[in-house]
């Protein structure tokens, strides 16, 4: 992937949005001609690559997927989140069949991941328009830092503020690998396609985006986002964990929101005069 010069890097405000929400959505970012090609490509399937394959090897120059992820906007987001030359550890074409009767249980992909200084990113591409009836992906904003294991969250059918994806053709969602999500029941007469790739960073995820607005007050506002499904007290712990992730991403060990981390780290060692 040609990401040495990433053309459209995220801003700090957008990165902060990703850190609080666990996803970034780009509507109709893929041009119609590529979407038209995608339907046939995805129907035929995309050749598997071993876990940990560099994206440039998994997707040869000129291939459909390579052209997709080299689109300016997508390459810029990928570079900002996982850096240059990421590996892929799997990809899959997900199809929600018409009238299939069941939704997926709410889940996070893979298993519990306790890394506080690294994360994988999943690209989810919808080549066709997704209506509410077609079973667009359900996701839960702000759930990505919860330490839960895969589909153990299946009991949670609905959470206040959940997102039921409805989008135009060519929409791409970048998702933190820990985000709770699931394919909803397709109550329409049309299949719903989605192509997903999981990217692993190969460099330290630190200041990989355009940091010129790092001190914009909107950064802290994004990081301080609340979500309607948070229990009141746990919502405070969510801020605590976001602060730790932002410190890791920026290298700024003094960053805080409302003193949440600083307060409980204060252990003066000096003796009183």
């Amino acid at each position: 992937m040609t990401t040495t010069i990433a053309p459209k890097l995220l801003t700090s405000v957008q990165m902060a949005h990703f850190v609080s929400h666990g996803s970034l959505r780009l509507d109709a970012v893929v041009p119609p001609e590529l979407n038209a090609e995608a339907v046939e490509v995805l129907r035929d399937g995309v050749r598997a690559a071993p876990h940990g394959t560099p994206a440039t090897l998994a997707y040869p120059e000129g291939s459909f997927v390579r052209r997709l992820i080299e689109l300016d906007e997508l390459a810029g987001v990928l570079h900002s989140l996982v850096g240059p030359e990421p590996n892929i550890d799997h990809h899959a074409v997900h199809v929600r069949q018409p009238r299939e009767g069941q939704a997926q249980p709410l889940h996070a992909d893979a298993i519990i991941d306790v890394r506080s200084d690294a994360f994988d990113v999943q690209l989810m591409y919808y080549p066709s328009e997704v209506t509410l009836e077609m079973g667009g992906t359900l996701s839960v904003p702000g759930s990505h830092l919860r330490r839960t294991n895969e589909s153990d969250t299946g009991r949670y059918q609905n959470l206040r503020g959940q997102s039921r994806l409805v989008c135009p053709a060519g929409t791409v969602v970048f998702m933190h690998h820990g985000l709770w999500h699931g394919g909803r029941r397709n109550d329409s007469d049309s299949p719903r396609y989605m192509f997903k790739i999981r990217f692993n960073p190969t460099v330290r995820q630190r200041r990989l985006w355009d940091t010129s607005d790092l001190h914009d007050p909107r950064v802290a506002a994004e990081l301080d986002a609340d979500f309607p499904w948070y229990e009141h007290a746990t919502g405070r712990l969510e801020r605590y964990n976001r602060v730790l992730l932002w410190r890791s991403l920026t290298g700024d060990e003094d960053f805080d929101l409302e003193h949440w981390v600083t307060r409980v780290s204060n252990r003066p060692r000096g003796a009183a005069a």
Binding site: R155, N158, E231, H232, N241, V264
Partner: protein, 103 residues
């Protein structure tokens, strides 16, 4: 000894409502919900509604749901005090429905 009389098959079925609340108080706000229907008449599933069925746990009681289980308050494991995980304030309710002859 006479043979035991056959027990008529029960026509009573359980409907379950699971509410997740903002605090451990039953009158706090609903933040999440799930339905399971033992009558088989409905098939609730993930992501099928946007608005909670009740504003609070007590509102469910007022509508005839019977509380059958409430989550305990368990201290965090030492060393894991700041971790976030599953929803803490989970309440199970039931309604018993008699299918009668129409099942």
């Amino acid at each position: 000894m006479s043979a035991p009389r056959p027990v008529p098959a029960s026509t009573v079925r359980q409907r379950l409502l699971v509410l997740y609340l903002s605090t451990s108080a039953l009158d706090s706000a609903v933040v999440g919900w799930a339905h399971y229907d033992g009558t088989g008449r409905t098939s609730p599933t993930t992501g099928d509604s946007e608005e909670p069925p009740y504003a609070t746990g007590v509102a469910a009681l007022c509508d005839g749901w019977r509380l059958i289980q409430a989550a305990q308050l368990i201290p965090p494991y030492p060393g894991h005090e700041y971790e976030v995980s599953y929803l803490k304030h989970e309440f199970f309710f039931e309604k018993l429905v008699d299918l009668g002859d129409g099942r």
